[in-house]
């Protein structure tokens, strides 16, 4: 797993692939690298609770520079049936997020799971 801490930067390399649980419902997922997992620590900027995909925008501090990551999840329809709410992520929440990143190095990825800094609760696949 590659861990991208907002303060520390890249820490370790993937040991095992974790495939996103939020398979793309409406487009080819060829842009995502299922063999890699990146762990981000950042602050939620926005949750776009929209079809065909929910998007989580997270601001990550990479070596002192702020970078916005776009993280794609499933449809709000299916996510809501799995316990998500349109308030599950609020602007200002500090979270760790695991993603299958884009192959070309873009700051975007497919959501796997998240852990909240405040109380340690998780959403999606974390363990």
């Amino acid at each position: 797993m590659t861990r991208l801490n907002l303060r520390v930067g890249m820490l370790m390399v993937a040991a095992a692939a974790v495939i996103s649980a939020t398979a793309s419902a409406h487009h080819s997922a060829a842009m995502f690298d299922d063999s890699r997992v990146v762990e981000l620590k950042g602050v939620v900027k926005e949750l776009q609770w929209t079809n065909p995909h929910v998007w989580l925008q997270v601001t990550v501090d990479e070596k002192g520079a702020k970078k916005e990551w776009s993280i794609e999840a499933g449809s709000p329809n299916t996510l809501s049936r799995n316990g998500w709410r349109n308030t599950s992520f609020k602007p200002g929440d500090t979270v760790m997020v695991r993603v299958n990143p884009m192959k070309d190095g873009t700051a975007a990825g497919s959501f796997i799971g998240a852990k909240f800094d405040t109380d340690g609760h998780t959403i999606g696949r974390w363990n």
Binding site: A23, A25, A29, E46, P52, W55, S70, R81
Partner: protein
Amino acid sequence: MRQLLDRGLTMRRLCALVIAALAVSSSAQAQSNSPQALPDWSGVWAMQGNTVFDRATVQPPTGRAGDAGVREAPPYNDEWEAIYRKNIDRVKTGAFPDPVSTCGTPHGFPRIMNVPDVYEFAVTPQATWLLAENGPGILRIYTDGRSYPAKEELWPTYTGASIGRWEGDTLVFTTISLKASKDGDVIVDRTGIVLSDASHATTRMRKIDAETIEAQMVIEDPKAFKAPWTVTKRYKKQPAGTWAWDYACAENNRNPITESGKTLTLGPDGKPLDKKVD
């Protein structure tokens, strides 16, 4: 007075005839598809497994549709096997886009039997509607005894034309007039399977237990196949009270397709995030 009596008798006789006719009609209906005789497919259902269309033949067995090198074994002739292999190569390079990414193109048949999210089945004597939440996704199956329109009144469409009948608890329907794939604009799944304009299918759908509906499709394609292709899909009933929702794909589509077939990823500002756009 006598005239009125005669008229009354005539009316009475007419009423009797109407009642008798209704009884005969109702009895005939009860033998096949009266509401009482139709199975209960109410509730919300989800397809079991991933969106590989023929999971019985997929290689590797854990492969997912859209992953590089994953393929199934439709009974293609040499010409169409070559087309499938070309599509598989396009999947490897990310150049086999999903046509539904346009947010308006239907999945079509048979792909509508193989989509994520959930399904509902509206069963009435006159027709059954398969409603796929992921859409646009409606399959209309008319069971009112109609025939297909005359050939000159039909044109190829994504979901085709389906007419069916009830054989006990089994809905049997045939689907014709399907739009052919032209360079992957209609697909069966993301491994690269496509069909010709000669394809048609017979589907048998029934509840195999209280929680499971099974659809067995026999797909024939005289231009593309050497033999009929039988594929079975199953749908699991979701907990009581489950909701299906609006699927407004165009609401925030951040994955448009370029002219070269690349699927982009847009940022929140609507501009491509991809390092290379084409």
